[in-house]
């Protein structure tokens, strides 16, 4: 599989805008009210860290940002970061976030959730948010499993995967969110991996600066319920497209790379 970043209609915000002199903050300033209760080793720690880092580097302040999630282990993120937050219903984060963004364009709206939340029950909002191209940054902590409900297949689980709901192996083909998002009209699509923090921070910053909808699908291993797709599994397989000399604006290339996984 591949870590990628593709931006059509490249309209990044001029860094300037953000630059109005404002207190220099550190990641500590974004520490939430409580510590994450994720399992030790959960990939989501890496996404949280990268998000905080990105916010610091973009010189955003806690009250300017709102993180909006659905329900899932990953969706608990808003409780672990010092910013405005909404912990909405399972699968509904994108719809709520769209409403919030349309109602207040000044908000930096960051949607944080899981593969089940976003691609299973939330699939229809996902499909239509892609084409609506509202200014949202969507961070999917993709662990190819339902973590919070203790381990069932998700839409990104590979065929044959054995889980509590598929003890004899999943019979369904997984979706690949990257080509799907491209075909659906997304204007910024990236894939990250919690094992590559620098790259992850970069694509999150890119997504937040991108004017329009940005999908960032992050391989974020579930150490408790998904032993097929472990940290090591990804480490062994991920490539960085930029390093592979990929031109982020070439649609075909993007489609090819999208299928590398």
């Amino acid at each position: 599989m591949s870590l990628s970043m593709m931006e059509t209609e490249a309209k990044s915000r001029s860094g300037a805008e953000a630059k109005a002199e404002r207190p220099k903050l550190t990641v500590k300033d974004f520490k939430g009210k409580v510590d994450p209760d994720w399992c030790p080793g959960c990939g989501d720690f890496g996404v949280l860290a990268a998000l905080k880092q990105a916010l610091v580097e973009l010189e955003l302040q806690p009250h300017e940002v709102i993180t909006i999630s659905g329900i899932g282990c990953s969706s608990n993120l808003p409780g672990y970061i010092n910013a405005y937050g909404m912990h909405t219903l399972h699968g509904r984060a994108l719809a709520v976030a769209t409403g919030a963004q349309l109602a207040n364009h000044k908000l930096k709206v960051i949607v944080t959730g899981g593969d089940g939340d976003g691609y299973a029950i939330g699939g229809n909002h996902f499909l239509h948010t892609l084409r609506r191209n509202v200014d949202l940054t969507y961070l999917v902590m993709d662990n190819q499993i339902y973590g919070l409900t203790t381990g069932q297949i998700s839409p990104t689980s590979i065929k044959g995967m054995k889980t509590k709901s598929t003890p004899f192996g999943s019979v369904e083909n997984p979706i690949n969110p990257i080509p799907l998002a491209i075909a659906g009209g997304a204007t910024y699509v990236a894939r990250g991996f919690t094992g590559q923090q620098k790259h992850l921070v970069e694509i999150i910053k890119g997504g937040i600066q991108h004017r329009g909808f940005a999908l960032i699908d992050v391989f974020s291993p579930c150490v408790t319920y998904n032993h097929d797709n472990s940290h090591e599994f990804f480490k062994a397989r991920v490539k960085r497209l930029e390093e592979m000399g990929h031109d982020p604006t070439d649609f075909h290339a993007a489609m090819d790379k999208a299928y590398l996984w």
Binding site: K33, V34, D37, Q61, P62, H63, E64, I66, I68, I71, N76, P78, G79, N82, A83, Y84, G85, M86, H87, T88, L89, R92, A95, V96, A97, T98, G99, A100, Q101, L102, A103, N104, K106, L107, N124, H125, L127, H128
Partner: protein, 595 residues
């Protein structure tokens, strides 16, 4: 002087252009200060089928579509066959004799045939018969031609002189033909001197939203609620209302919640099926304590049911919507004007109490039309956004702000995202005063109980602000008719008829505010009644059962209708007679016409 009361029925197939003559007549009536009620019986079909528009006008407020027709304008044979049998002595039937043959008419019914071939020999198309009939009916009503000419001129302005001339010519032909061949009515159309407006229920709901300062409206089309979306889409721009059509109703309610959380007054509308999909979202609004208003325009159910027919069948769905107990307000406006007035009232309540509000309308109200005194359409209504921090710029320093601070009222000031110093998280999971989840690591039954009670305490505060219902009519009535929402007009009229025609004195209790319910006041009022009859537009007596659940009140009888058509006054009159006579405890009228 005797009350002037005239009902005109225009029937035909979808696509025959029934709306136009209806609108023109309506405009002529209200411009003369006459009151009006219009009900259009139609079907979920784009062409063909049968549509029947009942336009009733009077010099006094018109409460329902009434029981009788004075004028019938059948635009095709089908409509003639369905309705001629209902026409009584003194009435007139206007029709195109080239295509339509009358059947046997009752004595004293004036048949007024006209030949389109003769009166408009070189005009093509079916619509011309409507214009001729328009001219003719106005003549029968003793109205001068001018008002019709003016309206036609206005109507076809964009199409140019030629079209205007043609239509005015045709109308005049009908007018003069009627003068020469038909007997005018013994009365002529009054003119009260003042001018009235003319409103559809959905339009009233949308305008009510505008008056309430709604800034975000979204919906997924669903009959019979779509009129609200159409009005908002057309007028949203100049009113500064963002309007969005969303992929489905789940998206709708959640998008509205997002906008509301960001500080907008947000509204959406749907019908029963869409409401079912929204029910989880409504509970989440109550849990996060975000104010939002949802309109359910009821239609005949269950499931897809009869999309173009009316019913009051969603009461239990709306009361039960969503898992668990949560605070919310449910209101059923009683008239089209009340639709307009209810929306700002409800927004002030949901903003104050930070909970969802649901308006229960139905097809009868939402797609019905009625005259309204323009002075009643007040857009400068009081607005109370409740305790909101950051609505107008930053708030005071929010040291140690807690979103869900426990207190007597159950209302904790809410801060809008973007406000410095008030950063917090709202959650659909159970949480503590700080918004920290107590569903996982910090599970705590005592905190859970306290915050749950805080939310539910709002219901007492809400009830204390709601206007209690009142008995309308004589204290010494033999029977009290109880209704809710849209049936107010027809029940009032049935009560008049009972007095005039049957010598039965009935009074009336109409319930508007359903949740929370005035469960002290209502039984107190009804304890004065000799007999109680509940009138509602559904099969199972949803309101009767709800009223009983809150008050133990058991009615002496029930009048129910669930065939898709609204009550006509005589249906209720017959029901009351049957019940008082003891021949029935539950009376279900039969709808005479096949519309």
């Amino acid at each position: 002087m005797d009350k002037f009361d005239l009902a005109i029925g225009i029937g035909g197939a979808a696509g025959q252009g029934i709306a136009t003559p209806g609108d023109i007549l309506a405009r002529i009536f209200v411009r003369r200060g006459l009151h009006l009620n219009a009900y259009n019986a139609y079907q979920s079909i784009i062409r063909g089928g049968h549509i029947f528009l009942t336009l009733r006008t009077s010099d006094r407020p018109v409460l329902s579509m009434g029981d009788k027709l004075d004028v019938l304008i059948p635009l095709n044979q089908d409509s003639m066959d369905r309705h001629l049998k209902l026409m009584r002595a003194g009435s007139a039937v206007l029709y195109n004799s080239d295509k339509i043959k009358p059947g046997a008419a009752a004595d004293g019914v004036q048949l007024c045939p006209f030949s389109v071939k003769e009166l408009a020999p070189n005009i093509k198309g079916d619509l011309v018969q409507n214009t001729i009939a328009l001219g003719a009916i106005l003549r029968l009503l003793g109205v001068e031609f001018k008002p019709l000419e003016d309206i036609l001129t206005l109507q076809f302005k964009r199409k140019g002189e030629a079209v205007i001339a043609e239509n005015v010519g045709v109308a005049r032909a009908g007018y003069e033909y009627a003068a020469a061949h038909f007997k005018s009515f013994p009365f002529s159309l009054p003119n009260t001197g003042k001018r009235l407006a003319f409103l559809e229920g959905n339009q009233a709901l949308a305008m009510g939203g505008a008056a309430a300062g709604v800034r975000f409206y979204c919906a997924y089309p669903m009959s019979p609620s779509t009129g609200v979306l159409h009005w908002m889409a057309r007028h949203g721009r100049q009113l500064g209302i963002m309007v969005r059509q969303v992929e489905d109703e789940i998206g709708v309610i959640n998008m509205a919640i997002g906008a509301a959380h960001a500080g907008c007054r947000a509204m959406c509308a749907t019908s029963g099926g869409g409401f079912a999909l929204m029910s989880e979202g409504l509970g989440s609004a109550a849990m996060m304590e975000i104010p939002v208003v949802c309109i359910d325009v009821q239609r005949a159910g269950p499931a897809t049911g009869v999309p173009t027919k009316t019913e009051q069948g969603d009461l239990w769905q709306v009361i039960g919507a969503g898992q668990g107990d949560y605070p919310r307000i449910i209101v059923a406006p009683t008239t089209i004007l009340d639709c307009f007035k209810t929306v700002p009232q409800l927004f002030n309540l949901v903003d104050k109490f930070q909970c969802p509000g649901i308006i229960l309308s139905d097809l009868l109200l939402s797609e019905g039309r009625s005259s309204v005194d323009p002075s009643e359409l007040d857009f400068n209504v009081p607005i109370d956004r409740g305790e909101v921090i950051g609505l107008n710029g930053d708030g005071p320093p929010g040291n140690g702000y807690q979103r869900y601070r426990l207190n007597e009222s159950g209302i904790s000031p809410r801060a809008l995202p973007g406000t410095p110093g008030y950063v917090h998280v709202v959650a659909t999971d159970e949480h503590d005063e700080d918004g920290v989840l107590i569903s996982d690591e910090f599970t705590n039954p005592h905190k859970r109980q306290a915050i749950h009670e805080k939310r539910m305490r709002k219901m007492e505060g809400i009830l204390s602000l709601l206007e209690p219902p009142e008995i309308f009519g004589s204290r010494h009535a033999e029977v009290t008719l109880v209704g809710w929402g849209s049936t107010q007009g027809v029940i009032r009229e049935a009560i008049e008829k009972l007095a005039e025609e049957e010598g039965i004195v009935a009074n009336h209790l109409q319930i508007k505010w359903l949740v929370p319910l005035h469960s002290e006041e209502i039984p107190a009022l009804l304890s004065q009644s000799k007999k109680v009859i509940i009138v509602e537009n559904n099969y199972s007596g949803q309101f009767a059962r709800y009223l009983r659940s809150e008050t133990s009140v058991v009615a002496d009888g029930h009048v129910r209708k669930y065939d898709g058509e609204p009550f006509m006054p005589h249906h209720i009159v017959e029901g009351v007679k049957a019940i008082l006579a003891g021949t029935s405890k539950k009376y279900v009228p039969v709808h005479e016409v096949m519309v």
